[in-house]
Amino acid sequence: MSDMPLSGVRVLDLTISWAGPYCTRLLATMGAEVIRVDNPHIAPGRPYKMSTYINDHNINKYSVAIDLATPKGVELFKRLVSISDVVAENFSARVMGNLGLDYESLKAVKPDIIMLSMPGFGNSGPYRDYVAYGTVIEAMVGLSQLTGYEDGPPLRVGIAYPDPTAGLVGAFAVLSALHYRARTGKGQQIELSQFESATTLLFEAIMDYTMNRRVPRRQGNRHRSVAPHEVFPCRGDDSWIAIAVTNDEEWRALCDVMGRHDLADDPRFSDILARYEHQDEINAIIAGWTRQFDHNDLMQRLQAAGVPAGAVLSSPELLADPHLKARDFMVMIDDPVDGRRPIAGPSARLSRTPAEFKWGAPLLGQDQDYVFGELLGMSQQERERLAEDGVIFKFPPPELEGQIPPAAQRTGAT
């Protein structure tokens, strides 16, 4: 058994998309054995999802395919539950119950099981059966209404941000439940409404409303109280720098770098309040100046003078960034479809037990020998009968015999 924080913890992963798989991936990179259980009829033998972006969320995991819509499939799944610690799912609220796999059913098989459910809106309430995507949740919690230009419409924030939020909250809850179980022997049911977890992201706006009945409006990049606080154009095509001046000292330092001591002495800009009132003028002056410079060079100059400044990095710039390189942040994985490429590494670095990036996403059903044969001790005949009944399938399927790409072999990542 490898010596990682979650060595010996086995997770059955029924989750799909980003939120759920991100949660279980966090566990998988810290030593948990995460076994994906998917529907065999999607695409036997092909990578779990042909979209390799989704595959990024399924690194380090094992894969079996079981048809849970059959009684024998449910029975087989329960056998896996009896040797597992955690079951994670993000189906809509009724699904697991309809399959006969709700918490009470799983508890009957394994009394200390920890079950994490991630229904979009929760398993009660008027929206219980509503369909949630991260992008729908993002809007519903008020984030979109408050993001955007002062003179523009509500904007999405690019990524489906409620998803990694829910994934992290889910991992937190599973780790808490494991901690409690070690102390007491008890498992539990965990219900994570993505709508609820994402609503906490708006806490500043919510508190202003509940305390003062005030409703904020979109304000671009403006800060509540300090200025300048904006994104400024730099040399080149679509190149920007973020500058945030939070006190008088930083203002004087900025003026110094700009060679504009007249601005430092200008009464219009003499203190925080004055700069806030005149930020349009200040921003115009700064923008006229920043245009001349490369945004990385300018950031270094400003930071050296003690001014908070950051180049607005695009994805190729992130790959070339000296700080991320010095910290070895990007990790190479072997994806079964797209081959070797960089993905973002761990966002928590543990000094004694760093995160492991062992292999790329599994092919659907790839680990049947290990999971059914070794872990459950099922005979070859038993497995063949189940395959004939369509409950599981033979890997690799005949049409893919000899065609599994080399990346499907379990190679270590670097």
């Binding site: 992008t135 809007a139 919690v141 523009g152 609820e196 500043e204």
Partner: protein, 399 residues
Amino acid sequence: MTEGALDDLVVLDLTHYIAGPFCTKLLADYGATVIKIERPDGGDPARRLPPFFQDDPSLEKSGVFLYLNTNKKGITLNLKTETGRALFKQLVRRADIVVESFSPRVMPGWGLDYEALAKINPRLVMTSISNFGQNGPYRDYKATELVSLALGGWLYFIGEPDRYPVKPFGRQSQHHAGLQAAVGTLTAVQYQQRTGLGQHVDISIMEAVTSILEFTFHVLATQNRVRTRDGSRYFITHPLTILPCKDGHVAVTAIGRAWELASVLMELPQLVEDPRFADPRRRWEMADEIDKLMIGWLTQHNAQEIFERGQELRVPIGLVPTIDQVVNDPQHRSRDFFTTVDHPATGPVEYPGPPVRMYETPWRAGRAPLLGEHNEEVFCGWLGLSKEHLLQLRERNVI
């Protein structure tokens, strides 16, 4: 009285502002004993952040501070003094976890780096949250939310294609880093409980952002596409966007099976009949035409109607509410999501409730501490100092 999942854990909390306190709030809300250690003069600078209760800028009325520091005990301690640091080390002996969010030079400068604390308590898990991590060329750079979003790579692709990048509302990079820190901390605690060995957990706010950029690195590697601003569109598929309706906006996701269902909802047979829209992988290129058709119908109907009828048909539609509408949302109300917290400085106020519901070990509601509120409990009760000693320490500005 129900138990908390983390009841047996003692956390020394040296964090301030947003990211660190959000991490330790999670630990406290789910049962851990969290001792928030603040500087005697003014405490956590977050106490100065608006919005204030009734716009009264008192140290006990910041809505940001009040929300982020629920369920914590509050003590004051001046770590710039040797006596203060000695008292801290005494507390470290009894702690499972230390969380701090100073600039990386500070704790080592005080002789309170991980190696020093591990000598006192080899089991200790120490979590350090900083803008750029504990090493690297940007380690000592100054950052605010806007700067972290810029260097993390997220800011670049939020906004309209022909305008400047614009940030998400709030302090999302710091909030997110706080969550990453909570997960990293509990992961290290798993190892600690099993082996008796602690470790150092290093969280960089910049890397927390870069680790959630979704398909950004994927499209760069496989299609040589640089992810950039696309308004509310999703850059790799359509429609997944925000569109105007009669009385505001709605979020429309009509991918996969929802495409056909959306054409029924919006009475737009053209969507399924026009051969230009037939290939789902090409709809992103036809986004302008598709949006024009949908907007034609949407602007004839109110958001609430679109939301209800759409969801009935299983089309993932969302409202785009203002914050008062979110607080009064019927789903939140039916599940009692908002929780009333009473506090001496504000009286009862509604706060957001549990981000996750644990059935055996539920989340607990609680309030933030007053500055130095638990000095006697901790210094006298835990460390055995006399009250007179406490008064002397106060006079000397150690607490």
